[in-house]
Symmetry: C2
């Protein structure tokens, strides 16, 4: 089943202890789409500027990603610069140039209207809600957000959360959104805001999925997937979006979200996140082989599997 | 098989968001011994003062812990005060009164000399080494240490590490000891210092065991166990020592450390750590039932188990 992703496309400039890269293809929707493209058909909704050359769009097309929803606007593409020199777990932003992204009004091509899966990457909550409401066939919506929206756009975000089935955020965002320091309690509060499931991403420690009682017709016990201890994290940018791509992409490829498919989705999320960080930008996600993905899935499984 | 533990016995005063408790029984050896006592016979080596009344020793005896190696010295028992009001993951120390612990010279009763398992809780590295060298029957030694010894007693610590088979420390200590920011690389460096296995404790995210190539006759793939998301962590004091007690106690109860028993030991470590934090001090560890432990083991297993 196809999945539509709405979010940013960007050119990133990144410095990490492993080196640096300038103006490389990035953005949440890009990472998500590449990661999800190994599981299902992906359709993007985004905006780029005049500097977004054919070669970049070809990176997406090579992965069979539908780019008809990428609007080409007058001006420059969103640019972000950041570094991980002191801390691989958190980016220090050097600059943000929103450019054409500042006035992003997502336009959904008619051809996307039969999609049943939707992922709302990290954009203004009201835009997320508007997209969801425009897509009547959708039956499973995943969403992301960030501290900025939680803090300054809380009312809009709370409206959007009512439309999101599975929210994927990190530990700090969960606690901030719930105004609660205990993670399990924070998770309960977030689930009371609307989502049936909450995936909390723990970075190098994996992720936990919490369920609202009765959600997806399954019990409410949480489930946790590990992350692979990786020797050299070259560039953590996009790890969370790649996680979301693996998670949602796998779910969209399955007949029904149930406990077992949600568990496997969490593992595939970790797998795609682990590939993403091995090279700068999206390089590693551009031409993975199915065997590499399945091989790493087995490594993840073995990592915590008791007989 | 019996296990000997050498370390501190203390009276703790603790404040957390759940409340406070004054002068409660604590200390690394106490937490370790109580946790391990559910798996095997435990023998303690420690020092206490004249204020260590019969009722405290009875807490240990009720769990069949051998207290003949607890020296009663003139003076007061080690006291520690700390709080977790701002951060449940890290104690802020209010006071440390070493008292009789300052001149601790571990004395091993002759009756302990047939023990094949030993755990060196967090004490001065030279004392750890001296204990190990005095116990000739020991064939598996576990050990702990902390940032203070890593920083100011490095030479002594490096000598001790040659005598330790399994080192159990946390993420920060591992990176500090190895002087390396990537955890898998840091683990490799620590394993080159002597231990055949390194257990890195991640607090609320569980723990990972790394193996030296060929250690225990098994492969060198790491293994990771989760921690349970607990709604109300009342008192995190002793969680790491209880983890070590569950881990080492389980290993001592098994015929041979192999990949499967080491994996299970990591889960039992998490289980005992999760019980410890549910109440102040050692209260929860004083009268657990075997079914509670096995029940939680299954919960931990289910938490990450893929069919």
């Amino acid at each position: 089943m196809s999945i539509v992703v709405v979010g940013s496309v960007a050119f990133d400039s990144v410095a990490s202890p492993s080196g640096r890269a300038e103006n490389i293809l990035g953005g949440a929707a890009t990472y998500f789409a590449l990661a999800a493209s190994y599981f299902t058909e992906v359709r993007m909704v985004a905006v780029v500027g005049e500097d977004f050359r054919e070669e970049y769009e070809n990176v997406l097309r090579k992965r069979n990603i539908d780019t008809r929803g990428i609007e080409h606007a007058k001006g420059k593409t969103f640019r972000w610069g950041g570094q991980y020199l002191d801390n691989l777990n958190e980016a220090k932003t050097d600059f943000t140039e929103l450019n054409v992204f500042e006035r992003f009004q997502p336009k959904i091509p008619d051809e996307y209207q039969d999609s049943k899966f939707l992922f709302l990457a990290n954009i203004q909550p009201s835009l997320q809600a508007a997209v969801r409401l425009k897509m009547e066939a959708v039956r499973l919506t995943g969403g992301d957000t960030m501290n900025y929206w939680i803090k300054d756009f809380r009312a809009e975000l709370l409206e959007t959360l009512k439309l999101v089935n599975i929210l994927l955020i990190n530990d700090g965002e969960t606690k901030m959104l719930a105004e609660e320091r205990s993670l399990p309690r924070a998770a309960k509060k977030v689930l009371a805001m609307g989502p049936q499931a909450l995936v909390v991403k723990h970075g190098e420690y994996g992720a936990t999925i919490f369920f609202r009682e009765g959600a997806f017709g399954i019990g409410s016990h949480p489930f946790r997937a590990p992350a692979l201890p990786i020797e050299e994290v070259k560039d953590p940018t996009g790890a969370g979006d790649s996680f979301a791509g693996g998670f949602m992409g796998y779910l969209a490829s399955q007949p029904q979200p149930n406990r077992e498919s949600l568990k496997r989705a969490l593992f595939y999320g970790g797998v795609m996140g682990s590939f993403a960080v091995e090279r700068f930008g999206t390089e590693r996600l551009q031409d993975l082989k199915r065997e590499e993905i399945e091989g790493r899935f087995q490594v993840f499984r073995e990592l915590t599997h008791l007989e």
